[in-house]
């Protein structure tokens, strides 16, 4: 909190300057609010043609996305459909799959890493691990994508996907290593740092008297962490999950590079092959399909995808606020 305002300013002019400064800074703050409003309105208005042409089935499945995009690019409508005909389900499914799988695996890994960092790591190891986490957070997504497509995808293609497996789905889709598994692996690494940072911070902020109480009851250290610290840090871990979900949802470049690049809805009924099938999340689709044209059918479809992402981001932002509320009760801030 700022200290009390000065009671006896030196001159009238100084007071006027102060007030002017407050108003100018306040105007900037209002400007930020207006900017958000402008963003929501602009994107929504420009997305409307695609939504109104397709109705709620925009979110459903139907037809082949490749031909749908081709129709829009060439301005020749598909037979019996409008030009803006578009069914986004494969993209939404791809987004859900990559996000949920990555966040779930990152949740397990980041919790273990956070416990390690706050409880078990000797100082020397911690001195290495902290810069490592910062490094992982700082690597640009295009570098992750490059490693994914030039190192990991070829390796998976050569070593994990057997030829019979490729042949089993050859009439539906081609397996080449750029797939759901590669995408999920790299996405997990990308969202780990923020989850580790938030979980470790919350674990360290758990009042030591709580842990001491548990230790005094004869509970060993691991169970104390598991039953007391981790439980108290749960809201912070939830906040980390929300932030990580937002990041995974919005990741475009890396996923455009490694997820296979065909708008195919990977099918869990295919058994293990499922992991090797390509996906194409929403954000990556914007990068792949947008060609610089700002008013055509493709553009309106891309705007609609952006609107869905923006709406999800707003929802997640609200969810992040909501899960942080119990933390205030504990006095463990995020």
């Amino acid at each position: 909190m700022p200290a009390a305002a000065p009671q006896y300013p030196s001159t009238q002019a100084a007071v006027r300057t102060d007030r002017r400064a407050e108003h100018m800074l306040g105007a900037l703050a209002v400007g930020v609010l207006l900017l958000i409003a402008l963003m929501l309105v602009t994107v929504a208005i420009n997305a409307w043609p695609s939504f109104s042409a397709n109705g709620l089935s925009w979110f459903g499945s139907g037809g082949n996305l490749v031909t749908q995009f081709e129709a829009m690019h060439t301005n020749i409508p598909l037979q019996g459909h409008e030009l803006l005909y578009f069914r986004a389900w494969p993209l939404i499914w791809g987004t859900l799959l990559s996000t949920v799988l990555a966040v779930a695996s990152a949740l397990v890994i980041s919790t273990l890493a956070a416990i390690f960092l706050t409880e078990f790591a000797p100082l020397s190891v911690r001195r290495v691990l902290e810069p490592v986490i910062r490094l992982l957070a700082g690597v640009p997504s295009v570098i992750y994508g490059l490693i994914g497509i030039l190192v990991i995808a070829p390796w998976i293609n050569d070593h994990l996907i057997s030829n019979p497996r490729k042949h089993s789905v050859i009439y539906v889709v081609q397996l080449n290593g750029a797939d759901l598994m590669t995408a999920t692996l790299i996405l997990t690494v990308m969202i780990l740092p923020i989850m580790v940072a938030i979980s470790a911070g919350a674990l360290a902020a758990v009042p030591s008297s709580w842990r001491e109480g548990s230790a005094a009851l004869g509970v060993n250290r691991w169970r104390t962490i598991w039953r007391v610290s981790l439980r108290a840090a749960r809201p912070a871990i939830a906040a980390g999950v929300v932030l990580a979900t937002a990041r995974a949802l919005g990741e475009a470049i890396m996923l455009a590079m490694v997820s296979g690049g065909s708008p195919f809805a990977a099918n869990p009924l295919d058994g293990l092959t499922f992991l090797f099938e390509p996906v194409q999340p929403l954000a990556a689709t914007i990068i792949k399909e947008f060609g610089g044209d700002t008013s055509g059918a493709v553009a309106h479809t891309v705007y609609a995808i952006a609107a869905v992402l923006l709406f999800s981001a707003a929802l997640l932002s609200f969810a992040g606020w909501a899960v942080k509320q119990p933390l205030k009760r504990y006095g463990i801030g995020v």
Binding site: P6, A14, T17, D18, G26, L28, A29, V30, V32, L33, L35, M39, T42, V43, N46, L112, A113, I115, F116, T118, F120, A121, L129, I133, R134, L135, L136, G138, V139, P140, S141, V142, I143, G145, L146, I149, L150, I194, A197, A200, L203, A204, A205, S208, E212, A215, N220, R221, R223, A246, R247, A252, I253, A256, M257, A283, F290, T294, G320, W321
Partner: protein, 342 residues
Amino acid sequence: MALAAPAAQPSGPPLAAPPRETTASWPLADRVGYWLCWATGVGLCLIAGSIVLVMFVKGVSSLRLSLFVQSPAPSLHQSQAGGFLDPIVGTLIVTAIGIAIAAPMGVALATWLSEYRRPAWLARAVESAIEMIAGVPSVVLAIFGLLLFAHGFFGFLSQSASNGTVTGQSFLVAGVIMALLAVPLVAGATGEALAQLPARTREASYALGKTRATTIRRVLLPSILPGIASGVVLGMGRIIGDTAIITILLGATLKNEPVGELPILGTLRGTGSTLTSYVYNNSPAGEGNAPQKAYAAAFVLLMIVLALNALVTRLTGPRARRTDTRPRIWRLLPAGWASWSR
């Protein structure tokens, strides 16, 4: 049964750091958990190590000095495809524009939020707004920028065709939207630094009869310069590393293509590329497909990012840490980092 000899400690450390304990007495499940923790810790180090190693080996082997001074050229052969002079210049321009806007804006927002904060509901709304900007995917920000700046009204920022349509793609436009990416980081770092200043700093200034505006300008901001600087460097890192905004708002063309006759303004209004879009276009996912070039450019990019990382560590380093009142573990990441959600 559990803790090994906690009793014989006459005036030892508090129990929060208990005497060294072996896991021998733990049940098997607990010991498995303990070793899993070690495995993840070591695994993270290995992942980071292999990323750096791969980039280093591949990058150094395909890096030539000539790459830095040649412009990219269209060619089917990697050897004739030129270097990445234009992308490096592009990266510099976009970062400069973005930071020139984001730094004052972020500092001003954080100052208002921390020092004035009136009316309170507005302050809360602005805080959520900044948090939301931090949470919006950069590809959506790019689409927003395109919709905004492709209007005829903003034609002077980019190229307009003869029939009146505006491309909405230029260095200026990309820089402005990049600023949005960096504002939450600058504001977050500044806000945390302001919150950590002891109350006596402000009170001493007020006691001398200084107004709030003078206090902010002469006392508060100078004393949190390292905090602001670390926010700015973090913001630069975000701008340099972003690709989505470049591909959509800068065109990601082969060369930087100026518009019109004016030397500097023409470049700013024209399209171009940066290191990130150069890497993307030269990867198998892009049109160029020249992995050697992509590796070389990615290596340069990674070195820049690592240097910025080290700079942040220095800025929030031992000297700055003495004034950092956060629990030690919070310093794992620089102040304001948590507000970054991408």
